[in-house]
């Protein structure tokens, strides 16, 4: 078992654990967005950054991907870490201010300003849905398309995929689809730390669908299911 020192705690970490596993085991809090226990680590959101090593040699690494190794020295909350995390979150909130998950995290880590113009997009490209679909639902119905500023997540060729069983797992795991924060549109896109008291919008229309898309039955998925159900009846 590799001996590591994490925030000053000496610990024999089991082989194969990541820094994040170890931190969670010890009750040290590290924010994460693109990580989910049931899925492979992705390392994309960069919120789980921690600093390893000391002095000149120290560097930032993503704790969700970094395996523990003998002699590793980890600090989970240095100024360098906090500054980087805040900047990442500032960028993500500016991209997608309606995500309650992000807003809550901002409140927690004390992000108090957003200096970028809000884009008000619907996706932060955390890739959770893609991995969920592939690794847990075994469907591979959605994936990333393009790169850089044209990146998006969609079905192949943007058409409804045969592979998609409409299980909704992608929406279940999405940090921006679920729990949309429609709080005050302040100049500052931070929501003001309210509790989200919104109701799922589709519940009003179809009792069975706790969907938060705000589209009230117009997005198509449930309507289709509904008609199929009717046919069966």
């Amino acid at each position: 078992m590799p001996k590591i020192a994490i925030d000053g705690i000496d610990f024999d970490a089991p082989e194969g654990w990541t820094i994040l596993d170890t931190a969670r085991f010890l009750g040290l809090e590290i924010p994460t967005l693109c990580y989910d226990e049931g899925l492979s680590a992705w390392g994309g959101c960069r919120l789980c950054l921690v600093e390893i090593g000391t002095g000149e040699q120290s560097e930032l690494v993503t704790s969700c991907t970094y395996p523990v190794e003998e002699g590793l020295i980890v600090r989970t909350a240095t100024k360098r870490v906090i500054d980087a995390r805040k900047m990442v979150l500032e960028l993500l909130i500016a991209q997608c201010p309606a995500s309650k998950v992000l807003q809550d995290m901002a409140a927690k880590i004390g992000l108090d300003r957003v200096r970028f113009k809000p884009k008000r997009e619907d996706c932060v490209y955390c890739g959770l849905c893609v991995r969920m679909c592939e690794e847990q639902m075994m469907a591979k119905a959605i994936g990333f398309v393009n790169r850089g500023n044209k990146l998006k997540i969609t079905t192949p060729f943007d058409i409804t995929s045969e592979e998609c069983r409409r299980c909704g797992a992608c929406m279940y795991i999405c940090p921006t689809c679920t729990l949309r924060c429609e709080g005050p549109e302040a100049e500052n896109v931070l929501c003001g730390r309210c509790y989200n008291e919104l109701q799922p919008t589709c519940l009003d229309v179809y009792e069975d669908y706790a969907c938060w898309m705000g589209l009230k039955g117009n997005c198509g998925t449930c309507v289709k299911e509904e008609t199929e159900k009717k046919k069966e009846d």
Partner: protein, 533 residues
Amino acid sequence: MKPEDAKSIVKSTLDGGIVDDLVYKEDGNSFIHLSEIPFYRKQMRILSGKNPLVDPVNVEDYIALGGYKALVRALQKSPEEIIGEIKTSGLRGRGGAGFPTGRKWEITRAQKGKVKYMLCNADEGDPGAYMDRSLLEGNPHSVIEGMIIGAYAIGAGEGWVYVRNEYPLAVKHVTIAIEQARKLGLLGENILGSGFNFDIKIARGAGAFVCGEETALIASVEGKRGIPRQRPPFPAAYGLFAKPTNINNVETLANVPIIIEKGADWFAHIGTEKSKGTKIFSLVGKVRNTGLVEVPMGMTVGEVVFDIGGALDGKRMKAVQIGGPSGGCIPRELFHLPVDYESLTGAGVIMGSGGMIVMDENTCMVDIAKYFTNFLQEESCGKCSICREGTQRMYEILTGVTEGRGTEEGLTLLEELGGIIKDASMCGLGQTAPNPVISTLRYFRDEYTAHIKEKRCPAGVCKTFIQYMIDLEKCTGCELCRKNCPQEAVEGERKKPHSIMQDKCIKCGICYDVCEFDAVVKITGGKNAKNSN
């Protein structure tokens, strides 16, 4: 030279003379030998010098020049000895990061497991760079030989050359070279009777810049989406198809046979203490001679730019952009810096794969930073939030500066953002993406400030800040500008001074270019722009 000249050339060759009229001339001097021409005089073409001598599709040419001799020699030694030699030579990766090649081979060799792979990185995604291409097209066997020696050293049985599909001639020449090598028993089973087996395949890339990054390249060869993954584990431990994998750049590999043949000490003699051998650069921009130049490491930037490139008349060079899109700009004051990994990194630029763009006073440094940042925001794979969003926001701020919406706070934010993108990104793309911005802010902050405070673009490039006007005293009324203006924004009668209707003008600059009397002037911030095309 024209076909008609052939007669006199043959005649004087037979007579043992030269045709004076056809000899290369520069500044009134004639040069008979290639090595005397200023462009070549300071170069040291140990890699690229063979290109003109071999027919790339003819392995006999390569062998006649001593090709594959190094392989024969290498196979008589142990892999450890080869690794030792490469380590002694001090060869470092030419793909950008400058990792010691011998050390990389040693690490890969030390991995457990029988199956290992050797990859050659010929992605060359930097726009305007074509060093690797010239080697693959012009002398493919030198790269193949280097690959075989490397594979022998690390114990790999299979290799891939990852080359972009936009290089059809390189693909063709490498394919032919591999077939020829196979026929001669230089690839395949039991190479040259040594008992060592190794074969090479070609993988073609679709041209994304990020696919040159090693983990993305591996994903691409595996047939997956070409995006990087977080290291560790490094490819040496967990690479292609989860096996230990070594990746080297084309130019790195082409150096290998030379080191084995001429000796590690000979090689270590060239260059500086920490950067050995030569480096090929693609020299372009505001210099007289452009093209690929190969120089010993440690030559100063100034020597490359002035002595090899040569200054253009009447223009003052301002900066050199080194290292490809994510490199940086160094100002003229630092032209005394030697070209080696440490000096360049210290100055905030990178060696990269070896792009060098010379700029003069007509180049706006903010515009340059914006140009490269735009490239990077499009080429970021988008996996890391900080690289994807960060490059887009840097581009947004820079666009603001060039369009008159810049603020001092914006510059502070640029610096802060740049620092964190470097620090927190997953792969080398993000880690170097802020270089164009940070280096121009560091050395040319006055240009940023001029845009923000004085609403002026000193180089006269950013359209928001310039105005074209006609100097009434110089204008002869020739009507040339009026006829050429696509917007019909110029008015005036023949033989009388013309003028530009500012509300119609789209600042395309055509009038400025066509006027034969220098009567069209470019104004920025109430002053004449330095620019004088």
